[in-house]
């Protein structure tokens, strides 16, 4: 059988098989095919081959494919933000804990100051017993309090960990809280001896509004 010379119609035959022609073109192609044995034969071949392709199509596991896909960019950004926030919280929290653990109360108001020390069981060294510093030991103006460095264990334990707050009277605690409220920031503590200026009476300039 000789091939049909109408290339335009033959080009359209696969579209006819796939129902890809508009009504007008479809009618024209079908009219041609009806009168053309070569195109009818070719159309049959195309339909058979398409059926073979369909029959040989392997099944695919959609769920597995979807499971392997990357997350959408927006979700990735959201996840990145959450991870970053989580890291920030951990860093901030960890930092705070580290500071709190290192930051023993070097300076306390009141008549005497209890400095965190290890319990005898933790450190039997008698030199590391609690140190009491009386106000009388302070200088007259802007008294300075020298505090012996706490041992490592004590430094790690901190004030709250040693339970020494129980040694303070209510008045002392109140004064302590008031003093803490007036602090602008938590001072950085160093491992060596710390000398901090402490005033029992506040200078006139700090009273505010009296000038």
């Amino acid at each position: 059988m000789s091939e049909c010379q109408n290339a335009e119609i033959r080009d359209r035959l696969p579209d006819l098989v796939h129902d890809g022609l508009d009504a007008h073109t479809r009618a024209a192609v079908e009219a041609h095919v009806e009168g053309c044995a070569s195109c009818r034969a070719e159309l049959k071949v195309l339909r058979d081959v398409r059926a073979m392709f369909d029959a040989g199509t392997p099944r695919v596991d959609v769920a597995r494919i979807v499971g392997a896909l990357p997350a959408p960019a927006r979700r990735r950004r959201w996840m990145d933000w959450r991870i970053a926030a989580g890291i920030a919280v951990l860093v901030a929290g960890g930092g705070s804990i580290a500071v709190l653990n290192r930051d023993t109360p070097r300076v306390l108001p009141g008549d005497s100051v209890a400095v965190a020390q290890p319990t005898p069981r933790e450190n039997p060294n008698p030199a590391a017993q609690p140190v009491l510093i009386a106000d009388s030991q302070r200088a007259n103006s802007g008294a300075q309090v020298a505090v012996s460095p706490a041992t490592d264990d004590a430094a790690r334990g901190g004030l709250a960990m040693t339970g020494r707050l129980g040694d303070l009277s209510e008045a002392q605690l109140e004064a302590l809280l008031k003093e803490i409220d007036q602090l602008e920031a938590v001072p950085v503590t160093e491992p060596g001896p710390v000398v901090l200026p402490v005033s029992t009476t506040r200078p006139a300039s700090s009273r505010g509004g009296d000038l």
Binding site: D11, H18, L21, D61, A68
Partner: protein, 186 residues
Amino acid sequence: MTDAARGRDDNRDFELIAQWKGGDERAATELVERHATALARFAASVGVQSGGDVDELVQDTFVRAFGSLDGFRGDSSFRTWLFTIQRRLLVDRRRSERRRKGGLELKDDDAATEFDALDALVAGETAQRLQQMMARLSPTQREVFALRVGEGLSYKEIAVAAGTTEGAARVHYHNAMRVVKELLDE
């Protein structure tokens, strides 16, 4: 599928892509459901062995596509874009196989894998007939014929997917058709 219906189909793809980009992961499921079978059919028709290889290829195609969806500008349909990606993966795989075997480099045109004669022997009658037919075609003819007859892509879409021109795609199709008819007449 008419041009109008295909346009609606493409629009649905673009909607789903936008939804997925907006964080809706369910849209990915629908996109995969809409196109996975066509990709598997194309893979099988150009000689990728059914089973694990087709599964893997289709999955890799989607993973690659979704990983670079931000770069998809919609110049072609999503389906055509998927076929383009799949064909590139086929080229890469074929090259790797050749390198492993110490053979010659493949040209980009030679994307499809060759049919395995043993596979044809064990396949069913229909599949065997199809494989014999496709085995007579050049790799490029196979691709063009499979995309045109199996998937109903236009020559323009085939040109994009196969990295050729519309005219060349048309010639490849008609040459392939001639070979197929000769075989079926035998």
